[in-house]
Amino acid sequence: MTLLPSLPITIPLAGAVLCMLFRRNIRAQKGIALFTSFLILLTSLTIFASTKDGTIAVMNVGDWPAPFGITLAIDMLSSVMLLLVGLLAVGVSAYACFDLDEPRMKFGFFPLMLILLMGVNGAFVTGDLFNLYVWFEVLLTASFILLALGGERAQLAGSIKYVTLNLLSSALFLAGIGILYGMAGTLNLADLAHLVKDGARGDLLTMVAIMFMMAFGIKAGMFPLYFWLPASYPTPPAAVTALFSGLLTKVGAYSMIRMFTLVFDSDPEFLHGLILVGAGLTMLSGVLAATAQYEMRKILAVHIVSQIGYILMGLGLFTELALTGSIIYLAHVIIVKTNLFLVAGAVNRLKGTYDLKKLGGLYSERPGLSLLFIISAMSLAGVPPLSGFFAKITLIIAGIQIESWAIVVVALGVSLLTLYSMTKIWAYVFWKPAPEPLPDLDPMPKGQWFVFLLPMVGYTVISIAIGVFAGPVFDYASEAAAQLMNPQAYIDAVLGGV
């Protein structure tokens, strides 16, 4: 392939460049951003269609043969991630066009958003370790600026924590790359995997693996490395938080899955055992932190941590079924969590606050919004037959199958607490009458309100669809997991069977 795998990177870049050139024309920027988002979705659909039979789409950038140039390699996991990015791009940019304030748009929100998408996509398509690092830098820079854009005090305080801890991750990542390159003389993931399987460098490899685990763990929001997340996520506007919640930590989780199935799979007892312990602590710590919060965005933000725990649980269990669960969980949580943040943004738009104690009465006032919230919230809590249920039960079954009781108990307990904190939002924001009457700050006419809700309706429908059409979803996810568990096909596809 000469082009297709690079499009997820180049299309958003082109869109961003155009937006930058149309610096003064916000309307044009909106149009470009929306159009680019649709193109991203379209591209990812095309890629999805061409890889869903298990083909790995490989492209050697600059026609330099692997492992010498940079290789882009898209397997089923990558292409489902791309698809999710596409879905997110469309919804969030539509929401942003509607909801974001003018100054932020004027100072580059759209190019930054598109470049964030470029970075995320880059991370999902690349088959090269250093290139992965580059995409991490792209999305770190973009996200840092998006966080700080607007310059409010809370934003700045949050973004400093964000950038410092994430730079720590970058440093570890880079050091890890250096050492690994010193050991193997290559940066191509497939080539690395190939060499690792040949050589007997187990001990050292395990140590390097831990550096990567830490680097990705910080990105993913693993316990006890997640502090940047609750400090920064609840500070920017809803559109930004929604985008972040859907993408940033997931790139970390994705990279962790990629590296620990492809390259670092030689010492699963120790490494994956460690990931499993981390996963358990992550889900527990995240949900406890959420339980202690009384601010809608904060609850949702720290819940991300908890959900990362579930995703990593699948990797830690390291069976095909468990990875199937992780993949479904990834897809589920990206959609649902983004949606919940959008709903929270809508609540804030109406009532001017995220504070659980001040809010109330939305169940009577806004039945549509309530419905959107409760479906997503219950999906997150794992109420069947929504997407979260299937994701969770797969992981539980996988855990029980290999009799990993501790993680099963933790996962079940955490899901109860998740339910608790979701119903807390529901009871406080929707059911409870408002302690003091809160007039609608932005009484929109019906048609406009409907357009505003449209992205949320879309995500809700997807969440339900993942549940209802769980059959095909599972077929796909388990194929993808099988690819991860048997990386030889990936290696062969990239190296051409060397």
């Binding site: 940079i70 250093f130 720590l168 460098r201 830490m214 460690l274 929707f430 059911w431």
Partner: protein, 764 residues
């Protein structure tokens, strides 16, 4: 079956729209869905009665072996009929009960969705499918209990019911997954044939306990019973339907269903009989002291559920016959009484206390008539169906004198409650402040039909026994048996005990005011009950969560960095120790003097950076580090890098100086102690990374890709400067990424400098 279920689910989804279009006939339109189900079920009675279950199955999730599999046998049929039959009546009742209520459509939606879910529980043949519907009933129950969402009590009760039942649901989930693993199939109809395998399986006991906890929470068994009386915050149609006649029986259903698979062990008998009997007695005794109509009924429901579990635990074919009969009897009289109680409250302007009601017979004659029928059936008076059930039950417990004793106490309490709800509000003098009128037509169907059934069933005992009870009991026992119910079984022991029970019950009713007063005095005991334990536990978790968050999320960046860094060092260190420590010092390349000099300069500059007392000096010292790096690059033959590094360092210094006057005054924020700690932490990181790098040097690299670059740079990439060719050709994509980073960094720097929040907005 799937079609009918889907129709009911669709009816639920459409309910709000139907309500908006024709609010007066919402109930009448929507009730057609459950009635279709009833008709279909009635038509299947002969077939199922002859031992031919109706089955249906569609693939859903192949990779999980999850099928939409349904299986209608006698047990399912009995429950499904109750659910859809009573459900139809409830839908009609709701129409009148919520007349003019703005959220009636939503209520209809929830209750019909519940009905569909509950039907799913009893019809599904796949364990996961059962669980899916099971959780859906918990969820719809949450929405129904909290329907009066403006009341904090309703919200708390909803949460409590949900947490308890979902907690049980999680145990159940683990239980069924293990059960399916042990039986090697998800299909209930196959599992129940593998009782021997399961009994011998190493996981038998855990499975049994997990499944029991799931069933007990749902069916409000001790010590989880407390949520049910609290759930009476739900509007009456929901209480009548979910919390007396259907949902709470899901646990009973599940255990009955699994009886052939798990039932033939001592553990089963022990657990079920003990818990069932305790719940039976506890519920009955607690009911004695209640004042509120719905709570009287709620506690007897708890008790009745306990009785069912008890009978199931004993597990002889007699007790199971008795259980099936009792389920039937209980569903009718309890639902009827609930609906009448709801009607009374509805038509008297919200009065809920038994003792403030009286003399309603004139205002509400139809309700009164129905109440008599249901109340007497509940008390177990002949010739009502409650009596038939009680007779069968006593007869079945012939060899269990203790349980007979318990039955007498429980039965007496039922008499009291039957009288208190069925007679007390209607007899005597009407209090002056009470105004009442008869319930509207739509609300009459339920009480009348149910009340009449309480009586009429007694005269068709043969047919009922043969067509409903016998197939159900057969399914539970998993062997052929005959059921012959009799209204009049002769003047035997059971009848005598029955009479004694009735007399004690009437006695209790006469001394009710004393009982209520005693209960009031014993109210302090509640502090030690499971309800208090629930609160204690919930508060404990919340407190722990708050503490955990305070300790971990200090909000101080330094703490976060420390934790992050120390975790890394600890884990890498652990791997190092695990690998047997670091053993490779030999073989290092000799260090030349010029390199050593540069290194020393770098290290000193680093110290100077950290130690300097002015910002300018720090910046300059840092610049020295950068310049040294450039020198090192030239030593190792990378002039490009050296040049770039030089320019970058210069520019950094210039930029920092430019930005200088925006900075706050310079000060050392940290104390000596923290600095000392920081030094240790920093040093540990440095040492760890250095060790790793040293170790990595010893690995023989096969052929690094850089060799390829040297070889192909000029030949194929038209460039002699390999570094540049790498940047713009071999790895141009990296460069593309990096210049993007630069671009947005500039964009960001510009935005951060120029875009300031408006003063009046403050913190958004």
């Amino acid at each position: 079956m799937l079609t009918l279920l889907s129709i009911i689910f669709i009816a639920a989804l459409l309910a709000p729209f139907v309500h908006r279009l024709c609010p007066k006939y919402t109930g009448a339109i929507l009730v057609t869905a459950p009635i279709a189900m009833v008709i279909w079920l009635l038509k299947k009675i002969p077939e199922v009665g002859h031992g031919h279950p109706v089955t249906e199955s569609f693939q859903w999730v192949e990779k999980l072996d999850l099928e939409l599999a349904f299986h209608l046998d006698g047990l399912s049929l009995l429950f499904a009929l109750l659910i859809s039959g009573i459900g139809s009546l409830i839908v009609l009742y709701t129409q009148g009960y919520f007349k003019g209520h703005p959220q009636q459509g939503r209520f209809m939606m929830y209750i019909i969705a519940f009905m569909a879910s509950m039907l799913g529980v009893v019809l599904a043949d796949h364990l996961l499918l059962v669980f899916i519907f099971w959780e859906l009933t918990s969820f719809t129950s949450y929405l129904l209990i909290g329907f009066n969402h403006n009341s904090p009590d309703a919200r708390n009760a909803a949460l409590q019911a949900m947490l308890v039942t979902v907690l049980g649901g999680l145990f159940l989930m683990a239980g069924i997954i293990m059960l399916a693993g042990a039986a090697d199939t998800w299909r209930l109809s196959e599992i129940i044939q593998r009782g021997d395998v399961l009994l011998a399986h190493k996981n038998y006991l855990p499975i049994l306990i997990l499944v029991c906890i799931g069933a007990f929470t749902k069916s409000a068994q001790f010590p989880f019973h407390f949520w049910l009386p609290n759930a009476m915050q739900a509007p009456t149609p929901a209480s009548a339907y979910l919390h007396s006649s259907t949902m709470v029986k899901a646990g009973v259903y599940l255990l009955a269903r699994l009886h052939p698979a798990l039932g033939s062990s001592e553990e089963w008998t022990l657990i079920l009989t003990t818990i069932g009997t305790i719940t039976f007695l506890l519920g009955a005794i607690m009911a004695l002291g209640q004042k509120v109509l719905k709570r009287l009924l709620a506690y007897t429901t708890v008790s009745a559920l306990g009785a069912m579990i008890m009978l199931l635990g004993v597990g002889t074919s007699y007790t199971i016959k008795a259980m099936a009969t009792f389920i039937l009897a209980h569903a009718f009289y309890k639902a009827a009484l609930f609906l009448i109680a709801g009607g009374i409250t509805h038509e008297t302007g919200g009065e809920t206390s038994v003792d403030k009601l009286g003399g309603l017979r004139k205002a509400m004659p139809i309700s009164f008539a129905c109440a008599i029928l249901a109340g007497l059936s509940m008390g177990g008076f002949p010739p009502f169906f409650g009596f038939v059930a009680k007779e069968t039950w006593l007869h079945a417990l012939d060899h269990y004198p203790l349980l007979v004793g318990a039955t007498v106490i429980g039965g007496a309490a039922y008499v009291l409650v039957g009288f208190a709800v069925g007679f007390k509000p209607f007899l005597g003098k009407m209090p002056a402040e009470l105004h009442a009128h008869e319930i509207p037509l739509s609300m009459r169907f339920g009480p009348i039909v149910l009340g009449l059934c309480c009586l009429a069933f007694s005269f068709f005992t043969g047919s009922i026994g043969h067509n409903l009870v016998q197939p159900a009991a057969t399914a539970i026992v998993a062997k052929e048996l005959e059921v012959h119910l009799h209204l009049w079984a002769g003047f035997n022991k059971a009848f005598v005990i029955s009479l004694i029970t009735l007399m004690i019950g009437i006695g209790l009713y006469c001394s009710r005011s004393f009982l209520v007063a005693t209960a009031g005095r014993l109210g302090v005991l509640v502090k030690f009950g499971p309800d208090a334990a629930y609160q204690f536990l919930l508060n404990g978790v919340l407190k722990f969560a708050a503490w955990h968050t305070r300790v971990l999320q200090t909000g101080i960046l330094r703490d976060y960095i420390r934790v992050t860094v120390l975790t890394t060092v600890a884990l890498v260190g652990a791997a190092l120790v695990r690998a047997g420590g670091f053993q490779r010092w030999e073989n290092l390349a000799p260090v030349s003097i010029r390199i050593a000099l540069v290194a020393i300069l770098m290290i000193s500059a680093t110290f100077a950076t950290v130690h300097s007392k002015s910002r300018l000096r720090s910046i300059l010292s840092m610049g020295v580090v950068g310049f040294c790096m450039a020198i090192l690059f030239t030593f190792f033959g990378a002039p490009d890098l050296a040049m770039t590094q030089l320019v970058i360092e210069t520019l950094t210094v210039i930029l920092l100086v430019l930005a200088f006057h925006h900075f706050p005054p310079f000060r050392h924020g940290s104390k000596k102690r923290t600095r000392a700690t920081d030094i240790i932490i920093a040093a540990s990181v440095g040492i760890t990374i250095s060790l790793l790098v040293l170790a990595a040097l010893h690995v023989q690299t096969p052929t690094p890709v850089s060799d390829f670059y040297l070889e192909h740079s000029y030949k194929e990439a038209h460039g002699r400067n390999v570094v540049n060719v790498i940047l713009v050709d071999f790895r141009a994509l990296d460069t593309l990424g990096e210049i993007t980073v630069l671009t947005i960094a500039a964009l960001g720097a510009y935005a951060l400098m120029k875009l300031k929040p408006k003063k009046e907005e403050g913190g958004e």
